[in-house]
Amino acid sequence: MTAIVQRAGFLTSVQDLGRTGFRQFGVSTSGALDSFALRVANLLVGNDEGAAGLEITLGGLQLRFEHERIVAWCGGEFDVQIGSRALPPGHVAYLQAGDELKFGRAQIGCRCWLAISGGIDVPVILGSRSTDVRANFGGFEGRALRDGDQLSLREFRRSPTVTTAGISSWAGPHDWVSPAKQCPNLRFVRGVDWSRFDDVTIQQFTNHEFTVSSDSDRMGVRLDGPELKRQDETDLISEAVAPGTIQVPPSGKPILLLGDCQTIGGYQKIAHVITVDLGIAAQLRAGDRVCFSEVSLQDAHRLLMERERDLERFRIGLSLQRA
């Protein structure tokens, strides 16, 4: 049971919800940069939320399915085609053996996540099927996909509502399946070194737009904009950092860390993007503009809890529909 990678595209990798438990050995989280989008896509095709799917960067992926499968994707604004039919985000499609699925270039955003019923069958390494593209392990042979690769797929349970129905007329909630925005506002909580920056710098951070630099990748989004001056240039002792951390190196150009970020860092931490907005951050690509606004830690937790409750309702809705 395989899908053949006819064209791998710019950067496509196998990812699940990431690797936990090995930070003490320097192992990054990896995983889908928008883990919520992958969870939703997996639920749509009847998978466990944590099944391994594909993270597609900037498009260009073309797959041919050797066996029937149910697929759905969430993420940036991509043109996705099954043969001549369009597959919009969050819709569920039934593919027959021989069908081809093609991702065009992203109009808005940077990445999307494809879930395939059954999930992608790669070995579990250190508790996860995610590819660590920096350290070259996990996922498909520890690397991004290449033209001609054959992806093994796991068995799936056929669901009566989606089989042979082509493409569903209904879709998941718009904000979930299509989170990319033009000039998004990312909400943050204060970082541990917030007070090391003076009022002028804080104003610059919260009142100005930043532009995404071209040397951004899965480790972090590098931002150009007003220089964030640090009051003291003391090197801090390295301590834990995490996806969402915004650190300010001596250059004064902030870096927003993403899923492949290192486990520790010594730069000053001005802020942390809240978990519910990490999926929006994962859509930033070179040249995009972005701004930041502060929320309280309590609000960050409340927003996360609300989204989780909504997902729970969505999950129940789907299971009723399939029953």
């Binding site: 003490q24 541990v192 301590e239 520790i264 942390h272 978990t275 989780e308």
Partner: protein, 240 residues
């Protein structure tokens, strides 16, 4: 001890303010806190990451909210549980004496100029001969202060002060796995092919990181480390 938030799903327990003043004692205390938190199995806590003076704690806010209800208190609730799990050292004093100290791991290193491509640079900076550098480096004992940067990168404390050499101004794009380097007042080992700015003085044939093993690293935070100088022939025969 200070507990500060690291975004909405993490926090940092700062055990000590400084590291260099008393590296050994600081490491012991950080690892003691790390182990106490590991044993405490606090609901919602996913994983812990010790580093130099602190322990990073990563948690699932949803799991904590579900168990306590109110959105106001995730951080405070967790901080309280962490504080109560960290028993002051004095109460454990007698039990600690009975347990063995950190393990000692010997790492063979070939200091041939072929691998130690920055030995000349270190010699120039330290005013020591290359022979003296190798002797000093391979007869000192180190402690693993932290593993990070890339999987398995081993930061070692205990470099003799006169070996300290500033990092290279322009980092190398690619450093071979196993390279042993000096970066400022620290020494360490690059486990994987990666970029890096440390001065390379040798190479170990051992694999520092192997994703197929659990634990995936040869050494763990707190371990004692000694380097044993080996010949080029021994390097080849030990190569993994």
């Amino acid at each position: 001890m200070e507990i500060v938030p690291l975004g909405d799903s993490g926090l940092i327990v700062r055990v000590r303010e400084r590291f260099e003043d008393a590296p050994g004692e600081t490491l012991d205390e950080v690892l003691r806190v790390f182990q106490l938190l590991q044993r405490a199995v606090i609901p919602g806590v996913i994983e812990l990451a010790p580093a130099y003076t602190s322990v990073g704690v990563f948690f699932d806010p949803i799991a904590i909210l579900k168990s306590n209800g109110a959105a106001d208190g995730v951080f405070d609730e967790l901080a309280t549980r962490i504080r109560s799990a960290i028993i002051p050292a004095s109460k454990l004093h007698r039990r600690r004496r009975a347990t063995r100290g950190p393990r000692l791991i010997e790492i063979p290193v070939c200091y041939d100029p072929e691998f130690g491509i920055d030995l000349d640079r270190v010699a120039e900076h330290t005013k020591l001969s290359e022979r003296e550098i190798v002797d000093l480096h391979s007869t000192s004992e180190y402690r693993v202060a932290c593993i990070g940067f890339v999987p398995g990168f081993t930061f070692l404390a205990g470099l003799p002060r006169n070996l300290a050499t500033p990092r290279r101004d322009v980092p190398r794009k690619e450093i071979p796995p196993g390279s042993v380097g000096i970066g400022g007042a620290q020494t360490g080992i690059y486990p994987l092919r990666s970029p890096g700015g440390w001065n390379l003085i040798g190479r170990t044939p051992l694999k520092l990181f192997d994703a197929t093993k659990d634990p995936p690293t040869l050494v763990s935070p707190g371990d004692r480390v000694r380097f044993r100088a080996i010949t080029r022939e021994e390097f080849e025969s030990l190569k993994q």
